[in-house]
């Protein structure tokens, strides 16, 4: 809502300054979004008196003026306007002033060799109108030297944001009422120009849809002369950002913007028969004022005559029956429409209008007769004509809400103690009626008031939210208790652990381009795609954290980054039961580019390999408290991974805690990014919660006796997984063997075809007595036997 200070003062008797008014508007919940003071633009322009005018010595069309600015010696000014002449008064821009129309800064200059100390301005240059035929001519009594802004009466324009619950403030009058309640002045009564209604309305008016249109009032005015609006009306509409169109149209806009009351005027000559509010029939069409044709359905209310639809009720009038310059007889419509239906129709048609927004939020049901009289009076006064009596079809809602209000609630809910008589004053100034025993009757225009809490809000916002004192929340005794859930602790810990491993935490979009999501979706999963995405790139919910990180890694590489060490903790989105979502907490890692750059010591740049991924996966699982010693390394990391360089880490055969490895070349190609890239995905919902966690650790004393190591080298089938060999050897003597380390893997010269050599260092920890030779021999035999079982043989 935009309005000028003058317009506000039409309704509010006040001496408050613009600043005071704006502060009050903010305080009562009408947020000031901006104040535009034309005086700011007119700084440096003055009322000036042209003393002499002579021809420019070197230019036919220019004159050299001497101008009295009210102070000091007269200034010499060069001017090209044909109407510049000695004795006239006009507007002079002094050096330093900025011309509003073009932003030019005025300077002392020489024009064709003659010094000029300013500029005499036209209407257009000051953005006060279109006229540019000559400079502004002011009346003889204009005071020379006065700032032109003051002389012109520049009118500040205030823009406020009206919240959707306050349609009563979608007219300047409603804003004036709120300000009066706040104590900023006195609300003036609505002035309705006198007119006499003569004769019955010659047009039959009906509402055939009392649900959608409970009330439809009308009146005919004959013999009007449409034309341009008077200056006062144009100025007010312009301040609201509306372009004046014609007197009749402007007056309906004035009623809407001034009083929050949309109305419509039909050209009577273009109507035939009864004018009826009814449901549209399916497929019925209307050409609206915006010159677009809309196809309607039977949920929509229209105003129609015998021949056609003339109005999408409460939203937009029809092109065919609008008023024009030649209109002489008009039908005025003022109606009350069901807000829900207006909203639904507007959304269906995708049609927004000033009328819709007011009807949708709720206009004042008590302002039909008065609004119609006001509009009629203004038309008769300004456009002439003879008005008929009003014809009324139906009636607007008239049941006022009565709320049993306990004024003590203002303190209990609002936290501020407001005297009862002040509470009553506030409510009454807003139009509430405080009856016996604090039964408060609400004005019908306040559709937002539902109960006592709303009345507390009214009292507190007018009394001043700044009077609410801060009151500490009660504290529980002692030190605050821990509140984090195990899941939250897990994520916080993992985040810091991943950062400790040199990874940068990223936050990427939850939605992906469809192809990227599809690439990572499992075969049996249908993607979850938005019905109304904001772009093709942000469309399908991510089934994995890796595509988003790959896209980031590609972007980084394209910008010349040598590497991306990225991780993200977030959710993957799947369909759950009952159509709800199943969101799985996940940690994704992408390692792209150089693991280490080329260096004087390390030689060529090194890229990431699958063991970098494995190391991170194990490290983070360890940090998450997963039983990493019990994990098995298995395959099936997914088709997005290199089939020979990827793995899953599982607890038991089914529970996959992580997948890791090198990204498949096809995936790299799909994401248009250079490899090799290593990736990890940890499935945080699969990590078992710690059972019986306690502060005390299990008892432990470091063994007193020194451990011994024995090395073994086995020839094993090439396909044997080293992990299987290690596990078998570890199991050869569970008590004595505390560690098995692979220190060499070799195939090639000296190793038979189809075999590889795996060398193990086995650590043996004696318990309470050192190993005897015979014991060591037995253990060694068991180790060898375990390897033989897997097809291995001890190398000589």
């Amino acid at each position: 809502m935009k309005f000028s200070l003058t317009w506000l003062k039409d309704y509010l008797e006040t001496t408050a300054t613009v600043t005071e008014i704006c502060d009050a508007l903010n305080a009562i919940g009408l947020e000031v979004e901006g104040v535009e003071d034309p005086a700011d633009k007119l700084a440096g322009f003055r009322v000036a008196h042209v003393l002499t005018a002579a021809r420019h010595p070197d230019a036919d069309k220019l004159q050299v003026l001497t101008v009295d600015t009210g102070e000091g010696d007269p200034l010499q000014v060069v001017c090209g306007a044909p109407n510049a002449r000695a004795g006239m008064k006009g507007v002079l821009g002094l050096p330093g002033a900025v011309v509003p129309a073009n932003g030019m800064v005025l300077r002392k200059s020489a024009i064709r060799g003659v010094e000029s100390n300013g500029m005499m301005c036209s209407v257009r240059e000051l953005e006060l109108g279109e006229d540019h035929d000559g400079i502004i001519e002011l009346p003889d009594n204009a005071p020379v030297g006065t700032s032109f802004a003051d002389y012109h009466g520049a009118d500040p324009v205030i823009e406020v944001a009206v919240t959707p619950n306050r349609p009563d403030c979608m007219g300047v009058y409603g804003i004036a009422r709120d300000l009066a309640a706040k104590g900023l002045g006195t609300l003036k009564p609505i002035a309705i120009p006198a007119f006499a209604g003569r004769g019955d309305c010659p047009v039959e008016i009906r509402t055939d849809d009392p649900e959608g249109c409970p009330a439809f009032y009308g009146r005919v005015i004959t013999g009007v002369a449409n034309g341009t609006s008077p200056d006062w009306l144009q100025a007010r509409l312009k301040s609201a950002g509306q372009r004046p169109i014609s007197l009749l149209v402007d007056l309906t806009n004035y009623l809407m913007l001034g009083y929050g009351r949309p109305a419509h005027i039909y050209d009577l000559a273009k109507l035939s028969g009864a004018v009826v509010a009814r449901r549209a029939s399916v497929g019925e069409q209307v050409l609206a004022l915006n010159e677009k044709t809309y196809t309607l359905d039977d949920s929509m209310v229209v105003i129609a005559d015998d021949a056609q639809v003339h109005d999408v009720a409460g939203i937009m009038g029809g092109e065919d029956s609008g008023v024009s310059e030649t209109t002489t007889d008009v039908l005025l419509e003022i109606a009350y429409f069901d807000p829900v239906r207006i909203g639904a129709t507007g959304r269906k048609l995708g049609l927004a209008s000033d009328a819709r927004i007011r009807f949708e939020r709720g206009v004042d049901p008590e302002f039909l007769d008065e609004g119609l009289d006001l509009l009629t009076g203004l038309i008769v006064e300004l456009a002439g004509g003879t008005a008929s009596e009003v014809v009324r079809a139906g009636s607007p809602p008239d049941e006022a809400k009565v709320i049993a209000f306990d004024p003590g609630l203002t303190l209990r809910l609002g936290g501020v103690d407001v005297a009862r008589d002040e509470q009553q004053r506030i409510l009454e100034s807003l139009g509430f009626v405080v009856g016996e025993g604090w039964h408060v009757t609400c004005p019908l225009r306040r559709h937002d008031i539902e109960g006592a809490a709303d009345l507390v809000e009214e009292v507190v916002r007018i009394h001043g939210l700044d009077t609410v004192a801060s009151v500490p929340l009660p504290r529980t005794e002692g030190v605050a208790r821990p509140t984090a859930t195990p899941q939250q602790k897990l994520e916080r810990g993992l985040r810091r652990a991943a950062a400790a491993s040199g990874l940068n935490e990223a936050v990427t979009w939850s939605f992906l381009p469809e192809w990227a999501a599809e690439h990572f979706a499992a075969d049996d999963q249908a993607l979850w795609v938005l019905a109304n995405p904001i772009s093709e790139d942000l469309k399908a919910m991510r089934p994995s954290l890796l595509p988003g990180l790959l896209i980031a890694a590609k972007r980084n590489a394209d910008r010349g980054a040598a590497s991306s060490h990225l991780f993200e903790i977030g959710r993957r989105y799947f369909r759950g039961q009952d159509g709800l979502s199943d969101e799985k907490p996940t940690l994704g890692i992408v390692l792209a580019g150089e693991k280490t750059p080329r260096g004087w010591k390390t030689g060529k740049a090194q890229s990431f390999d699958a063991f970098d991924a494995k190391a991170l996966a194990l490290e983070l699982l360890e940090a998450a408290g997963a039983p990493t010693a019990n994990l098995t390394v298995m395959g099936e990391a997914g088709p997005q991974f290199h089939p020979g360089q990827s793995a899953t880490l599982r607890l038991g055969p089914k529970t996959v805690l992580a997948r890791l490895g090198m990204v498949h070349p096809a995936t790299l190609k799909a994401f248009d990014v250079d490899g090799p890239i290593a990736a990890v995905e940890l499935f945080l919902d699969r990590i078992p919660a710690r059972k019986n966690a306690a502060f005390a650790r299990p008892g432990f004393t470091p063994p007193a006796l020194q451990a011994v190591t024995r090395d073994f080298a086995f020839l094993v089938p090439e396909a044997l997984a080293a992990g299987d060999l290690v596990r078998a050897v570890q199991g050869a003597d569970k008590a004595a063997i505390t560690a098995v380390r692979v220190f060499d893997v070799f195939a090639g010269q000296g190793v038979p075809e189809g075999k590889k050599s795996v060398a193990l260092e086995v650590t043996l920890q004696p318990d309470d007595a050192s190993f005897k030779d015979a014991e060591l021999k037995t253990i060694a035999e068991n180790v060898v036997a375990a390897a033989v079982k897997l097809g291995g043989e001890l190398r000589g």
Partner: protein, 366 residues
Amino acid sequence: MTDITNQTQAALDAIAAAPSLDALEEQRLDALGKKGWVSLALKTLGGMSPDERTAAAPAIQSARAAIADALDAKKAALETAELEARLARETIDLTLPAAPARRGSVHPVSQVMDELAEIFADLGFAVATGPEIEDDWHNFTALNMDETHPARAMHDTFYFPDKTSDGREVLLRTHTSPVQIRSMLAQGAPIRLIAPGRVYRSDSDATHTPMFHQVEGLVVGRDIHLGHLKWTLETFFKAFFEREDIVLRLRPSYFPFTEPSVEVDVGYSTEGGRRVVGGHGDAPGHAWMELGGSGMVNRRVLEFAGIDPDEYQGFAFGLGIDRIAMLKYGMNDLRAFFDGDPRWLQHYGFSLFDQPTLSAGVGAKV
């Protein structure tokens, strides 16, 4: 006599001239070895009479001692020289760069969420979470926005084509407020929680991204009022920005889920082109900035959430996490938050050691 003296002097000269440990060893063997002349001379003492021995022994003994001392000293000198030579050979250029340790980083949004959790834990608030893909009942209806509510249209909601088995619309939550509903339904009253997380609106420009982060706060109790809300927000912002001069301005506003509804502004000044929170917004050089919405929970919302509104009342607030992160840590472009650019992440991210604590301060300064 003279023989011994001469011989000794010759040996000492040879020792002094020995160029290496090997040469020195030769000299040792020559003099003190089993067949060395000093050893042989010592042996001759056995065949002498006591008088002869008394006369001859001192010279031989002192020759032996002098040579042994010289050998030791020369050996030490040669060893020192050899070590010095080796060390000289081993000299490296330490102006060469050492291998840099990679530093990881924590995203500002995560850091601020940790800070929020730490501050609010002290005030007795738990951290609650909920699904990001919601149904319209939890996201709108239970928050007092029925199907026809104009505010629904203002939310720029992302919808899915699906319906739940209850026939509800499926959408991306437009705010963290549905977590209020779920938490109240699950836990009842009294309750104190914050709910940080991702939220989504179909909006994109320099200051809006279609995905962003919000934190919801909810307190329900028997006699919670607007004054408690004001105190809680003031206390939070003082702790968060670690400044005592935080001034909040509450303005009446409208949210369907609160009544009364309050917009929260904070006073700030502009220093070096940056907004610095603190001071009264009406003071010279200061202004007000919107931080979020809040209010007393609408009794209809309590009813929807299964709480008796005649017994309990409470307040709720919502703040933009990205926004307060930007204010505190000085970023100016929201879109960069979601870009995954390592340069940005290193610059604006946090060390793993910046874990917020009350004793060290919840913020991380540079």
